[in-house]
Amino acid sequence: MQTKILLDEGEMPKRWYNIQADLPTPMDPPLHPATGKPAVPDDLRHIFPMELIRQEMSTERYTDIPEEVRDILTLWRPSPLYRAKKLEAALKTPAKIYFKWEGVSPPGSHKPNTAIPQAYYNREEGIERLATETGAGQWGSSLAFATGLFDMECTVYMVRSSYDQKPYRKSMMQVYGAECIPSPSEKTRSGQAILDRDPDTPGSLGIAISEAVEDAAAHENTNYALGSVLNHVCLHQTIIGQEAQQQLATVDTYPDVVIGCVGGGTNFAGLSFPFAGAKMTGKHPETDIVAVEPAACPTLTKGLYAYDFGDVAGLTPLMRMFTLGHDFVPPAIHAGGLRYHGASPLVSRLVQDGVVRPVAYRQNEVFEAAVLFARTEGIVVAPEAAHAVKAAVDEAIKCRETGEEKTILFNNSGHGNFDFSSYEAYFAGMLVDYEYPAELIKESLSRLPVTG
């Protein structure tokens, strides 16, 4: 039995898969924040390059991956697919557990899968600098890495609680040549406004996005880059799931359960969309596709499916998605990359349509699973990825109880080598089991999350 299934560089997928082509009805369009009318490509031109806007709105099934991008992706792709035999043995489960290991990328997660093409398209259109936000620091490191390769400048607004928790992420961005600023900052009007109200705020992804968008809009040579949520980001990540399909095919396997953690939803989309497409088009209608989120920020399980802003200040277009309200500042859980009030509109749509099943877990049980994973498979995963590990472990335990020999596939989206303070807090018994008081909020109907 093989432990890891590898593909040759030549076998790396040559195009990205767009799930919009396989949706039964079109997506609801994003709306212009000021007019409330459907946004048109021109509305986004001041922050995004045309090709990314095209990809954002495209319904074509495939987009070719440019040669120059493919070339860079081979620095770590195709990524290995592992069979977690030692974890299976520890769980005494008849289930087969596979995971796609995205922590092999230089910055340590799936994020460069989209950072590289985003930097590439921006450079192609003459942009010299990118502004972005980062939660866990994985995205900031990835865009810093990518812009460096294309000789561009990069400014990263890093959510302050993460900035304080993980000083080495900032150092990594510096090594790659980017500037990293704790958010909220005094550099932008939106950051200043938050600081005026609340100088001690831990910050949030929603706030950091406002700052980066404002920075990009204010500078002619600068565009904005988003590491999650948007359709084109999901698109770039589908290389993960396509590889996984090829890898599983070499051992004549198709998964019964496909699992990923959801912050904005893109690593989940990346692994699961090729499988979700096959599910919707009837090729594999039975696949159980599971999106895992933190109980502290349970967008998909407890949120409202509605139009809302992508950021706190209300600068982005309104998107129809599951949301806890754009003004919600999630508690400072250690999975910083999952602290987002909304979720990818595509992932939201699949949840709404019943194609994807969302689940939520609390911090301590997530870290418990991560520690078990480290002690069996050796990899110390990022707190975000640990959510997927936890769901996979639970599915495998269910199989032990029912005797089913299911094949479980999860996305291991990144390593936790900068997250040891979180593990330390777990071992010290200091992790708080936050949860979102959804029942209390729901009861007061007039106070549903503020949406556009």
Binding site: V329, S421, A425, D433, Y434, E435, Y436, P437, I441, S444
Partner: protein, 366 residues
């Protein structure tokens, strides 16, 4: 340089070893049963652990302080009060008044709940107080967790923030006959150090108790439903909800609110039951009370099992600041109605911020 007023209740803590619950009015009996004064040992432990000598000490003569300072190797101090022997509550209060007159920055005492109450009676919120735990049982939240923690807090008294901490009134007579009644007596200012982990997360969230109370109050005010009755329990966290609504809270008692107006102030159980007859749609908002974190059964006795059953257990909303929750890893439920306690289950959701809650484990004593 901080000036600290230091006193020991020499008879505190004697009862436990000889199976008396508390030593109020019982010291002779405790001594007869062979108890040895324990408070002094605990206090010596704490003060010996003090790293430097940058504290100016004011104290009381002989067993009420001086002996302990000397045993801990502290030789510079001023004796401000000389008690009669045997010492009593009046001496504790008189000593505190002497400390205040001398302008101390902090009053440190070694004793139990009763001593805490006496110190609080005299000092109020004028200066911070801190207990070195030595009593038989401590329900008040004014004590450091152990002598070493007390030493750390005394050493850093000038730099660390203070927070509101419950002083409990424990009826020792009743306790000795097997009943525990612990009422919320007041809120003292107590220095504290937020738990620090490398993650920095806890620091963020515990830093500011006031901010947390405001966030909780904002959230509860936001989710209030028109026409429903809100029974607001005792304590400084729930009081903030009242203030948020522009209402005057009863810090140590229970208020009832409906449509933004007070319908009963400092209500007793009967009043609450009558109100629930009129307004069956109701929510009860309580905060864990005391050092142990009692959600039910201590400090909120007016919110009796009958009141809770009438409103419905599912309508109980528990609120507490992250700092309080960090200090009480487990919460307790002891309503006096075992079946009701059991219905609460093994865990409860506790609102700890604006649209933020924590899941906390519940313990049923005994």
């Amino acid at each position: 340089m901080t000036t600290v007023g230091f006193l020991v209740n020499p008879i505190a803590g004697m009862g436990g070893a000889v199976a008396l619950a508390g030593t109020d009015g019982q010291s002779a009996e405790a001594l007869r049963r062979g108890a040895v004064p324990r408070a002094a040992d605990r206090a010596v432990q704490a003060l010996s652990a003090l790293p430097g000598q940058d504290v100016e000490w004011c104290t009381c003569a002989a067993p009420m302080g001086e002996d302990v300072l000397a045993a801990a190797g502290i030789d510079h101090y001023t004796v401000l009060y000389r008690p009669a022997v045997p010492t009593g509550a009046a001496d504790t209060k008189a000593a505190c008044r002497a400390f205040l007159a001398a302008g101390v920055d902090l009053v440190v005492f070694c004793g139990g709940d009763r001593t805490a109450r006496d110190v609080f009676d005299a000092v109020g919120r004028e200066v911070p107080i801190l207990g070195i735990p030595a009593g038989v049982k401590m329900y008040s939240a004014v004590f450091a967790v152990n002598p070493a923690a007390a030493a750390d807090l005394i050493h850093r008294a000038g730099e660390v923030p203070c927070r509101d901490s419950e002083v409990m009134d424990v009826d020792e007579e009743a306790y000795r006959s097997g009943r525990l009644t612990a009422r919320l007596y007041g809120y003292a200012c107590v220095p504290y150090i937020a738990e620090r982990t490398q993650g920095g997360k806890q620091v963020f969230e515990q830093q500011d108790e006031e901010r947390a109370k405001n966030d909780i109050a904002a959230f509860i005010a936001e989710i209030m439903i028109p026409d429903a009755l809100y029974i607001i329990g005792a304590g400084s966290t729930t009081a903030r909800i009242m203030e948020r609504l522009g209402l005057l809270p009863t810090l140590l008692g229970v208020d009832a609110v409906r449509n933004g107006e007070v319908v009963a102030r400092n209500a007793d159980e009967r009043t609450l039951l009558t109100l629930l007859d009129e307004h069956p749609r109701a929510k009860i908002v309580v905060s864990p009370i005391g050092a142990q974190g009692f959600v039910l059964g201590r400090g909120n006795q007016q919110i009796s099992p009958a009141v809770i059953r009438k409103a419905g257990l599912q309508n109980l909303i528990v609120v507490a600041t992250p700092g309080k929750l960090a200090a009480t890893p487990l919460l307790y439920v002891d309503s006096g109605d075992v079946a009701l306690d059991r219905e609460v289950g093994d865990s409860l959701q506790v609102v700890s911020g604006y649209r933020i809650a924590q899941r906390k484990r519940i313990v049923h004593p005994e």
